[in-house]
Symmetry: C2
Subunit: 358 residues, 2 copies
């Protein structure tokens, strides 16, 4: 083999990596495209990071991120040996795919969900079976009962924002006693019910969360997972075969402070939820179909104007949202919940675009 | 399968992860066990991190760490498409093993070297062939001429501290035109010659470095690699199939500032090298054999007293060094170069231990 891929290993030669949402460098946009929090993180996070940014940076971090595990243990009422922390929930998910799914085995996830799952699976030679969501984008729970070597469910789902309750997850866990079920709760803090209370009952349940959304720390890279000690030990085995220290000293310090400021966390996620409901109503007033979201984004479709045209028009108006050129959802825009002012600007821009189409 | 490993994938069930040097929590030690820099990072690093620790933490980092690539490009005179940055050189190495070595293929490295290499290889189902170093721990260069699918050389080597020059590496690169040769230069800034100028000539050369040692930023997790664009693209393909953002905003900001303070970098590495030579002479005066180190550590053995006893005795005296219970090197202690005062304390403690053995 010659050319660019001359030295590439067989495992990566045919991969298509994940494409994150655009991070514009040139121009100031109203940025509603990557599900970031519109509010800054807790001031205690900033203070903690500034205090940690000193001479101790010459030292390696704690390889187990112990202070962070202790803070997670206090915040969630879970023993430390049931918690794993990593460099964002993407890294945690990547470790989980390696830890729990054999090469050549088959895992299932919805046909419409976080598009990183098939990327992990391809890298680790895991087969994917995609289970179609209902026409209304609800999860067809019985379709997940057995017949696979692993299950991955984003709850709330992305990019729909729709969630299922713990009983649906219980049913899936019980129907798959020999397979690990990963519940990716990146957006759970905006109104859905966490599967965390189920980990005591199900040794095959891994619950993955992140500080990127509800704690406004996408730039700090802190994700975590809950599960029984056997699952957590497997994640540590993978991590310690790759990188002893995935969380730097500043991420550990900032993460601890974020967990300790519970009031700020509750204040901000309530604000986001209120703005979400207000914006959903305004979009419906403009004629949009808006899925019932329990996340910090809305998934909305207009019957008269193609989503692609609205996406382009919004970009020209200085507003970034996300559009997926993909069957079943190419009528939709995924719109991150910003501040009330940002959502008002969005609705004004959309109204103008709809008007121009008439 | 039942028990702790019930849900573990076949790829990790038999792994032995890497064990990093001890990070004591309870007691204050003179810490000469993990090759950390005895001096703090540049004050400009601290300032840059404090400035970055604000509201922007709610935003994802630049997924390509562009400001860091730009600063690396300026500092090393290498175009950006020949540079990759990651979460410490351990992560960069892990990505490189995935990117360049096929499952079932065979790579070679010295029998005595950084003990993370076989760990990566085991995780990614790569076979290892260990090439014995000479009796004096020199690299037997012709033994690396062909017959493998990849080569990994730490230069300077760890834990010996000994380095080879570019001509030896040229010979190995030319003898392995179809295999990627990874030169791990974690310690190169303490007196060895970098292979970086060779990347233009050899499309199969990847040079890996870190900010953990010479830039006193072990706690920030910044590693990087240089190679021709095809190799860098492969690393990005792996990274973007695992985690879009491995470097957080603070690591990017701090890394940029570290590269910009060239004078501080040169001052500190010169201090470490001077202390190393002074401490090596003092250890030789105590009867130790000390290998010729071009790293920020010394590898030393005493003819009369077992290394394990000295290791234990130093620990009791409040000084941590590293001991490897491993054939050929179990007579040695690996001693990180600290400040002059720390090395004086080490020599006093060793003198007392030797005296007590008489």
């Amino acid at each position: 083999m010659s050319g660019t891929k001359r030295y590439w290993s067989s495992r990566i030669r045919d991969l298509t990596p994940y494409t994150p949402g655009e991070q514009p460098k040139d121009r100031q946009f109203i940025k509603l495209n990557t599900n970031e929090n519109p509010y800054p993180p807790s001031p205690r996070v900033t203070e903690a990071i500034r205090a940690a940014a000193g001479a101790d940076l010459r030292r390696y971090p704690d390889p187990d991120a112990t202070p962070l595990l202790e803070a997670l243990s206090r915040a969630y009422g879970v023993p430390q040996d049931r918690i794993f922390a990593g460099n964002g929930s993407d890294e945690v998910l990547s470790f989980a795919f390696q830890a729990f799914f054999d090469p050549g085995s088959t895992i299932v996830f919805p046909d419409i969900t976080y598009s990183f799952y098939p990327v992990y699976a391809n890298l680790y030679q895991i087969r994917c079976r995609r289970i179609p969501l209902g026409a209304d984008f609800t999860l067809p729970v019985p379709a997940f009962f057995g017949g696979s070597d692993g299950v991955v469910i984003a709850n709330p789902n992305a990019p729909t924002g729709m969630a299922v309750g713990p009983n649906a997850l219980r049913a899936i866990l019980e129907a798959n006693p020999r397979a690990v079920v990963i519940v990716d709760e990146a957006y759970v803090d905006f109104g859905a019910e966490s599967a965390l209370p189920l980990i005591g009952d199900y040794p095959n349940l891994l619950v993955v969360q992140t500080m990127s959304k509800s704690r406004a720390l996408a730039g700090l890279r802190v994700g975590f997972a809950f599960g029984q000690p056997g699952l957590i030990a497997a994640l540590n085995c993978v991590k310690n075969s790759i990188n002893s220290y995935t969380l730097d000293r500043l991420a550990i310090a900032g993460g601890v402070a974020a967990l300790e400021d519970r009031d700020y966390f509750d204040l901000r996620r309530r604000q986001v939820m209120e703005t979400r409901e207000r914006a959903a109503a305004a979009l419906r007033d403009l004629g949009f179909e808006v899925l019932p979201s329990q996340a910090n984004f809305l998934f909305a479709s207009h019957p008269a104007v193609p989503a692609r045209a609205l996406f382009d028009g919004l970009r020209e108006a200085g507003i970034l949202v996300r559009y997926f050129s993909q069957p079943r959802i190419d009528r939709f825009l995924r719109i991150t919940v910003g501040t009330d002012e940002e959502m008002d600007a969005l609705c004004r821009a959309l109204a103008a675009l709809l008007q121009a189409q008439k």
